[in-house]
Amino acid sequence: MRKVDPSNAINSKTPQHKLMGTITPSDLHYERSHAGVPDLDPAKHRLLVHGMTEKSLVLTMDDIKAMPSVSRVAFLECTGNGWENWKTADGNLTVQNTHGLISTHEWTGVPLSFILDLVGKNRRSTWMLAEGGDAAGVARSIPLTDEVMAEAILAYGQNGELLRPAHGFPLRLFIPGWEGNLSIKWLRRLKFGDQPFMTRWETARYTQLLANGKARQFQLVQEINSVITAPSGMMQIKPGHNRITGLAWSGYGKIERVEISTDAGKSWKQAQMNHPILPKAQVRFQMDWNWDGRPTKIVSRSTDDKGNVQPDRKAVIDRMGTNALFHYNAQQTWSIDEKGMVRNVLA
């Protein structure tokens, strides 16, 4: 199995195959940062809100915590989740390697809409720059759709405690269902404008290169997805009864159905879904299975309440090519050999 160099452990992945339910323990939430983790003093931290607004305001953490709060259980997913399998499938990968860049937490903070009212957002402002206080000053332009204005949170809490430093302490943006990198950590500035600012992150980095050399830009929603977490890569199963379980999610809404195939996609059975089934949150699914001991492949596919169905690999590659790097949401296939060894395969 692949070893992680301890010096790289800050860029960690969630061990999906070792977890139960849907809430990721705070210590095991995946971590991705662009220039390390800053050591910020919450007493000194400030948020500047300006641009196309009636007022430009400087807010302290005390100011922000005095505002009305909301809490929401939702997933956060790195747009690179799944990228191991774009071109080839390494048979030695676990589900932590292939799908470890998603976690689900309860996030607590102030609704963005409250801040919009506070500063008097100009009606003509359609984009917002969110900027972090890390060494790279990571900044992304966020389209101010009604969905974003209604659902985004300026979060200071995760799973009932303050944000962890690696997750943006003392303040981060949280946009349910969208690319993780938009949920800017160590949030220091919100600027309202009427066009995208075209930062490095939304041009050179988080854009998806297609086979024809053009790139998709502002592909912001994390598409419908699912993965079987057991049996999964590098596990060994025995003939007879096995319980298949896994996680499904969609940045568009609520998971409506998860189906499982134990014959490489020839036939499908509906899996049981455990409550709660929340929009833009991971859902736990399971199914009983009697393995007859013959080599086979198992795969899951999910459907959400907006009618999105998780595509198979061929559909994803036909649409995106194999150079896109990000937004790989194809059905994950695990092959099982005659000894019961489970391996990562493309399809």
Partner: protein, 179 residues
Amino acid sequence: MFSLRALVGSAVVAGFAASAAVASDVGRPATPEEIKLWDIDVRPDGQGLPAGSGTVLQGKKVYEESCAVCHGVNGQNGIKDRLVGGQGTLASSRPIKTVGSYWPYATTLFDYIRRAMPYQAPETLSVDETYAVSAYILSLNGLLPEDGKLDKESLPKVKMPNRDGFIPEPEFRTITNSR
């Protein structure tokens, strides 16, 4: 007025609208001087670019002192992102994404260097040094002559080879909203 519809989930907030009115006193106004210190972003039309300038020649020196250790001599073969070359490779099976082959806006180069580079000491280059090193990287890509110079007027006019290489998602091309 804060809208209750904005609250996802349900029972989270009794008395929420009432507290919104109180919160209009929250925070303090930002002064123009203060905003200037924080307001470092640069848009493709040049909005946000400061006064100052730098030449390719000056930029070569800045690059060799502060950038080459990671990005390599001439912007290639370094331990971090390649900055030069790759034009014509984007549709191949091994695309090489660099400033010259992939970045759509030259302004983004200034914005990114100013906020994030050098990696171990961001925001330490002067405005002139930032223009200069941007000019040098563009010249290495054949997008500025060796005696070239950049300032807030000329930088937005540099046409990047991949300017038209991006397809924004249809739903975000024109943003319409209700507030």
